[in-house]
Symmetry: C2
Subunit: 212 residues, 2 copies
């Protein structure tokens, strides 16, 4: 972890009021989310997706798919959850869904990242970011469950479009994919069934290995 | 404009229910927003920003900066406006802020793009996308004015971090930048003053040419 902030390279003008300067410094720092690469291949270009693009895509999905949630969700709140959900990866890195080694240290790494990143903000707003992130992770509200479902559905669509994508990760079989994607059905029966249809068809076509 | 949709290359499974299939097809198609390049240089990497990254950044800025709006704004609604605001650029392309030639045909190009893109959705949701986009463009609500202010403030921060960026576009001077950024003050006195401080200091340092 590089200790310097982006604004250390080029500080914002001294004349800015203190609270606003802290907010703008944080807003500059999170530009780094655009450089955190995920495993998922884009559908529209021959490269991997980054976390900022992914977060935007989830936000749009929330707006369009919220009608399929089994419990009513507050769309505006759910969109805020997905906009914030990956911020800690700026310092903790992306932990791929099928990476069991990385998963062992993920919680600890992400907690440290959250303390450092959100600590750049005025205290009340550090709390706000933390609250949104904690809500997403805990999955105790309909909004958080639906946000998490979007987080699982989006790469499924990208893998489909890539005729495999991260489904081809060593050790991954259709059963593993189905187990990981059960999160979708916890928020939406209709979207859970759609995910199942996509995985089953992917398996039939040989884009994901059959269960052993 | 290439007439084929991304899902024409690899259609989603036939077994999906019709309304959901249309929604998912649209969600795949808008992956293209990640390939629409803006002029702004990233602060965190040596490349230009794309529209999906930009839209995500605005969404986060809304959450953190809404307290500075002169009129109270509904944060959830404002976030939805920025998530949707650049979608038409998928087919119409980005029109840079300082491109007066492109600006002449921008409205027409974007209207055609909206018809085509939103037409992929079920009719009620095409209407929803259109409504969000029209609200943003018309700037008649506090939410739309604040969303537009974020759209102007974000590249200002990126230009500052680049010690010039698109401020160095031929024909652009500090007065031109100040005129374009007056949109920020229409939504927030505090952010308008901050923008002014950043531009004035950029001019003092020679990162943007002085008024002729």
């Amino acid at each position: 972890m590089d200790d310097a902030l982006l604004t250390d390279r080029n500080p914002l003008p001294d004349a800015l009021e203190e609270r606003l300067a802290a907010q703008l410094g944080f807003i500059v720092e999170v530009d780094r989310l655009k450089t955190v690469l995920r495993q998922s291949p884009l559908a529209a270009a021959g490269r991997r997706e980054n976390d900022a693009e992914h977060s935007w895509h989830l936000a749009l999905m929330v707006i369009l798919l919220a009608e399929h949630a089994d419990e009513p969700v507050d769309v505006g709140r759910t969109v805020q959850l997905v906009v914030v959900h990956d911020l800690v990866e700026i310092y903790a890195g992306d932990t791929p869904l099928y990476d069991t080694v990385g998963a062992a240290t993920q919680v600890e790494r992400e907690q440290a990242a959250a303390d450092r990143l959100f600590g750049l903000l005025p205290k009340d707003q550090a709390g706000l970011m933390r609250e949104l992130w904690d809500e997403f992770e805990a999955r105790q509200t309909p909004e958080a469950r639906f946000a998490k479902a979007m987080d699982r559905l989006e790469p499924l669509l990208l893998n489909w479009m890539a005729r495999g994508g991260t489904w081809q990760t060593p050790g991954v079989t259709a059963d593993v994919v189905r187990a990981r994607k059960s999160t979708i059905a916890e928020a939406s029966t209709a979207l859970g069934e759609a995910a199942r249809t996509i995985i089953d068809e992917g398996e039939r076509r040989g884009w994901v290995r059959p269960a052993p």
